[in-house]
């Protein structure tokens, strides 16, 4: 447990100091949302209609960018070997990596996107919905992305095709996330879409550490 925390803390420290992809990708996210009015020629109605879908799509792209070389850097400078030899289980390494990538990239997105949407005059209940749906949806994206990133770690030419492998697995989250953000207000009664999203999160949390651990183990055969 302590190892887990240490791994996460050092990861966060490194990415804040280095200002690497994961931090840069947040700026990518913010900028792309801010230039949206230019794309739709300032048409407020179209914007309101598609905004949520676009937010989800941009989130997905951001995560794919930042997940691409998640394990590769640690492997190249030998730190991953050293952590493995220290006796930390590969499942823990995997889980800490995917959690730290969530904290670094997704947490700011989850916080920022409702605020950014304020600029587009959406109703407040929509903002709450999008906050919660991103909060539940992004961990799923991170975990699945980390699994594929761990899978391709074992191969030299892996990281170029990671998006091809990852995107099909992301579609359910995209669909339900958008549906959940558009669903009715959730405080009185949780809507169906939210329930599905939560269930999916639980499945992924239960399954992905094992698959991710096995995938990392491939590197050590």
């Amino acid at each position: 447990m302590l190892d887990f925390l240490n791994l996460i803390i050092s990861d966060i420290k490194i990415s804040i100091r280095k200002k690497n992809e994961s931090i840069i990708s947040i700026f990518f996210f913010i900028f792309s949302i801010l230039i949206l009015p230019l794309i739709f020629q300032g048409d407020q109605n179209i914007l309101k209609k598609f905004l949520i879908g676009i937010i989800w799509f941009l989130t997905l792209l951001t995560i794919i960018f930042s997940v691409e070389k998640l394990f590769e850097k640690d492997y190249e400078d030998g730190v991953l070997d050293q952590i493995y030899i220290s006796g930390v289980p590969l499942e823990t390494i995997f889980l800490s990596k995917s959690l730290s990538i969530w904290i670094i990239t997704c947490f700011p997105i989850v916080i920022l996107s409702p605020l950014l949407l304020l600029l587009f005059n959406l109703q407040t209940d929509k903002l709450i919905n999008i906050f919660f749906s991103l909060l539940i949806g992004t961990p799923i994206l991170c975990m699945i992305g980390s699994v594929t990133s761990a899978l391709v770690l074992g191969f030299n030419k892996g990281s170029s095709v990671i998006s091809l492998i990852t995107l099909p697995l992301y579609l359910p989250v995209l669909i339900f996330g958008i549906e959940a953000s558009n669903s009715e207000i959730i405080f009185n009664q949780i809507s169906q879409e939210f329930k599905i999203l939560i269930g999916y999160l639980l499945i992924v949390v239960a399954v992905s550490p094992w698959i991710g651990g096995l995938a990392l183990r491939l590197k050590y055969r």
Binding site: S10, I14, E76, D81, I85, S86, G87, V88, Y220
Partner: protein, 201 residues
């Protein structure tokens, strides 16, 4: 009694057979020098010995126990310094050392002072790794050996980019380690002027 034993190890990387049916034993207080030209599989052999790679065939035993049976307990028995320095360039020296002490149970925090002193790292402690020279980076990496309480060392080209002074410091530490019942396996193409066994790849 045989302390550390490798039997019939063969290794294939890519489509190339690196070595076949390698045998050796290592007792307490002994040093094993793995020699070989570039690409002959020195690094692969060390990775195999430390359980980071699986050999195509053969077995490795420590105290007559196969290392694959319980890797977790085997990992506590040795210290491995790889070809890469295994330090995070965005962190300072102190943070790096503390990080590895915190996750590795066989590194002892109380020896930190000693390690810093031996490798002259005191002035560098709060400097980020990315600002260090390659020799200084290697010293940080090697200081792990002093922190460690493991009896076996696996070292991959330990003296690369070390200057003469630090080179002799390293060999002094190595001799002391051997004296205190330790043993070490070193892969390098430099000559080593200590009593040793040789394995040629």
């Amino acid at each position: 009694m045989s302390f550390f034993e490798a039997k019939n190890i063969s290794c294939i990387r890519g489509n190339k057979l690196l070595f076949k049916n390698l045998n050796f034993k290592l007792f307490n207080k002994e040093l094993l020098h793995i020699k070989g030209s570039n690409g002959s599989g020195k690094t692969s052999l060390l990775k195999i010995l430390s359980g980071l790679l699986k050999p195509i065939s053969g077995s490795i035993k420590l105290n007559k126990k196969n290392i694959n049976l319980s890797k977790d307990s085997y990992f506590k028995e040795f210290e491995y310094i790889g070809h890469e320095n295994a330090i995070k360039s965005a962190l300072t020296v102190r943070e790096n050392l503390n990080f590895f002490i915190s996750i590795n149970k066989s590194l002892e925090k109380r020896k930190l002072e000693v390690a810093v002193q031996v490798f002259n790292l005191r002035n560098l402690l709060d400097i980020k790794i990315e600002n260090l020279s390659s020799g200084e980076k290697r010293r940080v990496s090697l200081s792990r050996l002093i922190l460690s309480k493991s009896k076996i060392w696996f070292l991959d080209e330990p003296t690369t980019s070390l200057d003469k002074k630090n080179n002799s410091i390293f060999f002094k530490i190595l001799k002391e380690h051997l004296k205190s019942n330790g043993s070490a396996i070193i892969a390098s193409h430099d000559e080593i002027k200590i009593k040793k066994k040789n394995v040629n790849l």
